[in-house]
Amino acid sequence: MAEYTWPSREATAVIGKEVDRLDGMAKATGAAKYTYDVNLKNQLIAVALGCPHAHCKITKLDVSAAEKTPGVVAVHIFEHAAVGREVEWEGELLAVVAAESEAAAKAGVAAIKLEYDELPVFVDDEDLAAAEKAGRTGKGGGKTELEREPGDDDDEDEFVEKEIARLLKESKYVVEGYYGIDAITHCCLEPHGSTVEWKDGKLLAYLSTQNVSGTDEGFANDLGITSSDVEVKCDYIGGGFGSKFAPDYWGVAAAKISKETGRPIKFLLSRDQELKIAGNRPSGYINVKIGADENGVLTVWDSVHWGTAGYKGGGVSQTVMPYVIRPKNYRRIATTVATNTAQSRAWRAPNHPQACAMSQTAIDDMAAKMGANSYDVFAANLRAGNVDSQHPDAANVYLAEMERCAELIDWKANWHPHGKGKAKGSIVDGLGMALHTWGGTANNSDCRLKVSPDGSVEAFCGSQDLGTGTRTVIAQVLAETFGLGIDQVRVNIGSSKYPASGASGGSTTVGGVCESHRRAGLDALDKLFELAAKELGVDAASLEAVGGKIRVKGSDKSIAWKKACTLLGMKPLEINASYKRGDVSTLSSSGVCGVQMAHVEVDKETGVIKVKKFVAVQDQGLVINPKTCKSQIYGAMIMGIAAALYERRITDPKSGAFVNAELADYKLARLGDIGELVVDLYEPESERQRGVIGNGEPPAISPKAAIANAVANALGVRVPVVPLTPKRVLDALAKA
């Protein structure tokens, strides 16, 4: 049995090299078929009616005129839209019209007669007092850790109050702050949806999904069939970011209508529906008091935070607070707020971006209060062991990454104490930083590998490529293992009929597929070595696969790859490999750090912020492809800039309407909004030895805090809630 390891840095030919993404050609020529590009013969187009009010009771839903609209073939009413039912957020789909064309389906939707009674609406998640008054709050849990234990006679609650008060009183510096981060939506450029058809009682679903292997069951459960009767396919997907793990009730509806009409159905959400119902990230707001010693080392943290994850309440988990920089003494309490908005979905690094923006802003304000350099305050806390991170050697790695990041942004030369920079007219500049952590344990992954007597190599795996480079990474792993070129390996992913592989969420994909494919490759190689050894008259253990040959290590004796494969005889060699999440392995690991620093300019007259330069230093164990790896980080930084400066869900307090649910008004960063971006991969041998770790989430965490801190450094005034819109900047300046 093969030993599953990676080759050393010096010995790799393909791993660790900047390889162009394998699907780049298809994407750059328009040949790549995304779910919403799939047009099936004789298909109907479905368009849905969304609920126009954020909280109401349906009193009438008459679809008879819709049914008579020319071109309309079927109308489906959702169970939750039955007369008498309450709808709790705007946009919730009520009925679907399937028609010969999109225009006819829209005309059908327009003909639906809907009546409802309006019910009270609550959407103001930032206003805790109002939420309490409206009875919309709930307990979100909490935790207190204190180094001193209560005495036998102490009342626990009273002891905690007194101890925290004592710690604050004895602190050299105390900061009391309010910070926040608004809800944003996933806003995938390809909306959620599917094109489905039935053939011989089996469902074929082209679904825009991050979970190819797991969604067949979702369809099957709701349709009363077995998952073997469903094939889910997704070759290309236009964004998911954590929101596309299930078929969703609209996918199931497409399958039902298709069955009923006997025709394929294409059903994608409209842009506003995508923003309103297909995924959002919970908001978070915090009141916090922290104390620190003369070096800025935190001695105590005391916070209450709240926010909303939608109509069921929820919010940012208390478990991640205070984020990364965590003193020995702390109390954290979370309150949930229920609003008339759609329930949130996982959003790149669930909880972490909000926790980072609610915690590390306070650390930076501590530096401001002390008149100290923020870098030194972060470093002093790391050195003092005030660290909570998933990386096993966190403090050292953060410090090393900080050093590198500071060099790249020229922190020393650009630093000035908060609010003390030289203004150029109305423009001031500032620096800010933040730290993050993430797990990224490799997900379950099975694969089937076929090595044919003609030398061809083909792999099958029910994973998906979100644009992250899954295909490319698998090909690199196999090419490296067999000593072949990347073009000599064929990778098949994107079908639930292939061996199951985990959903792409939580930075778990690259680890999972590397585990399964490296294992399969090494197992196959073992078999080939046995055959080649006989042919060459050597010991199989002396062989290696490099440069298109199987050769005796350190000698010229070899057999060409193709020739070696003919030794298989008539039948291809088929290997199935399986990795189960949590299996201990040297191929993958989990737990990363990451540091980001931003240099911004703020116009005090207009409140407009410009990110001049933004640097990310990121570890992720062994890097398979630096190009796709960096690409992920760049993307995360852009998303971070958008969330720091522009992006938010705006709801009307009276009607609950999501008023900016269109790309015209839902402000995202554009090309002109992005300054210089620098990405540096931190991969010393100690990190490389850890094996592969995914990096989709970690770099998406820090941007908000880093940019908000840079703005605070520029202005000498904290703009407490992100996104830092010009109005918020001007309001903060006016208040200061």
Partner: protein, 162 residues
């Protein structure tokens, strides 16, 4: 359905006739009637640039053009950018420069870049940022897109001067 019209237009050099409703957008007809799905839809109201095509050489967002308005027009879509299996300079610069991730915005960016370089073969960084400001990307690094456009412009200049 009554009122359908035949629209005659040239797409990537091929003359095409298509039967469509007057209310159908050029984007809908390209994608649904003619299966030119390389042209993407992000918003259907002119705010993302994913649906950009060249109409008589000018970039237009095809979601804001009715198909009947394209009567007699010469269209160039992403499918007509490569020469056979050879990517043109813009496409290969996007690919090599990792300027695409999920790739759904890429056709729009590439077509818009073609228009930019036709108008201004040697654009400054500001020109690029300004000209491509109507194109939205949710997942990749815009920085890489700017670099790719610069690389493509350079390659094309070199190719022309030889």
């Amino acid at each position: 359905m009554s009122g359908k019209r035949v629209v005659t237009l040239t797409i990537n050099g091929d003359q095409t006739e298509v039967l469509c409703e007057p209310r159908q957008t050029l984007l809908e007809v390209l994608r649904n009637n003619l299966d030119f799905t390389g042209t993407k839809e992000g918003c259907s109201n002119g705010n993302c640039g994913a649906c950009t095509v060249l109409m008589d050489g000018r970039p237009v967002v095809s979601c804001l053009v009715l198909a009947v308005e394209a009567e007699g027009a010469e269209l160039r879509t992403i499918e007509g950018v490569a020469c056979g299996s050879h990517l043109d300079e813009v496409q290969s610069a996007f690919l090599e420069g990792a300027a695409l991730q999920c790739g759904i915005c890429t056709p729009g960016f590439i077509v818009q870049t073609e228009a930019l370089l036709a108008e201004n073969p040697n654009p400054s960084e500001d020109d690029i940022r300004f000209y491509l400001a109507g194109n939205l990307c949710r997942c990749t690094g815009y920085d890489k897109i700017v670099r790719a456009v610069q690389a493509a412009a350079e390659k094309r200049q070199v190719a022309r001067s030889v």
